[in-house]
């Protein structure tokens, strides 16, 4: 991105575009990557509510895929996932495998 000159700045460094950090992808930080196993998912949405990066998509109350643009691979979702009959719906795998 071309950097702005001093004449192009907003007075007082005020940021006028809300939620603009979405342009900053944090997915590259991951060392581990969560994998969603749909058949074990009970759609409790604990993963969604506990995710610090708002990286889990939900549509009409049903869990969808991870948003890997932002997921930092912390693994909270996998640890908190109750799964189905003892089988986790999220597992962590090494990134790049």
């Amino acid at each position: 991105m071309k950097q702005k000159g001093w004449k192009e700045l907003t007075p007082g460094a005020v940021v006028t575009e809300p939620g603009s950090s979405k342009q900053f992808k944090t997915g590259s930080w991951r060392a581990f990557k969560p994998r969603w196993i749909e058949e074990n998912c009970i759609h409790c949405l604990f993963c969604w509510v506990y995710c610090p990066d708002m990286a889990i998509t939900v549509k009409d109350g049903k869990r969808g895929e991870f948003n890997f643009d932002y997921c930092k691979g912390c693994g909270i979702c996998a640890l908190e996932c109750p799964g189905k009959k003892g089988n986790k719906a999220i597992v962590m795998e090494e990134e790049g495998n």
Binding site: K4, A13, V14, T16
Partner: protein, 393 residues
Amino acid sequence: MPKIVAVTGNEAVAEALRQVNPDVCAAYPITPQTDIMQRFSSFAANGKVKTEMILVESEHSAMSACVGASAAGGRVITATSSQGLALMWEILWIASGDRLPIVMPLVNRALSAPINIHGDHSDGMGARDCGWIQLWSENAQEAYDNTIQAFRIAEHLDIRLPAMVCMDGFIISHSITRMEYLEDEKVKSFVGEFKTLNPLLDIEKPVSYGPLILTDYYMEYRKAHEHVMSKVPGVVKQVADEFEKMTGRKYGLFETYRLDDAEVGIVVLNSAAGTTKDVIDEYRAKGIKAGLLKPRLFRPFPYAEVGDALKHLKAVCVLDRADAFGGSFGPLFMDIASSLYIQDKKPLMFNRIYGLGGRDYMPDQAEHVLNELVETAKTGKVQSVKEYIGVRE
């Protein structure tokens, strides 16, 4: 018709603030300013202003609350002195960096230690580089007029910077003088409606104030701030012209007194200018061509214009009511020296420190300085560049 009154400087400033009728005021007591906020609180308590008061627990919170209130989108005031300004110091930079047009009377008082409640300029000088506009006032009338004009300057859409209006503690703040009040309606229409810029309270357009700016942009923001400062003198003059049309009282970036044909001159801020003018008159009567320059817009400092006004003199003494420890000279001297350095022809200069901690500045001190100036002009030699005057050995 303007109203002729006999009031103190604090009373006059409080009256100006009442007439401007801001949306929010953060108030905290400190001598000698207390009186302004006390009077203003009374206006609020009696429904004479629409202002919501924030009775904070410190000046640090006063300025912090002003930043929040101003960013929210409205007209905001507070007032302070001395230690109060020192405690605010951190947030002064944030108020200006965020480009918030807060207006703050500063009743100049010495800084501790030793603790002292009387008037000198060490408080205001300590905040001279923090990106605020500073208007300095000789007397109650000027403090009143400057307060009203400060809103127009600070809130100007090309500027959007906070402004301090300075006057001398006790000497002006607590002395009763004759002056003129404008009619409420005139003040109201002169300052006009507050115009918002990126207000936090516009929830339809959420904005973020106070981002982290690192090496790649910090310098650009500083340059932008410097550029805005450079536009201030133009706006100050424009506002002063309008003010003159309304009141007949003329203001500029600085005041000159019998300076045009002078051979020697004194540069001095605030109340001491009055005494000095009287003594200059006496010397003029004796045939000595003496004059005076009194800065009004101290920040940003109009270097070129001040240099132009002083360059024809043979000798100049700058009187500082504050010392800049370790900087060798008083703060005003350093600015005047810078103003003259860029001129081809420049007078001889010396610096005298006077009136610290409210020490009286008497006519004999002005006489002493004028005699020294005459001698310097005659011999072409500066006896001593910096001295304290009115101090016991």
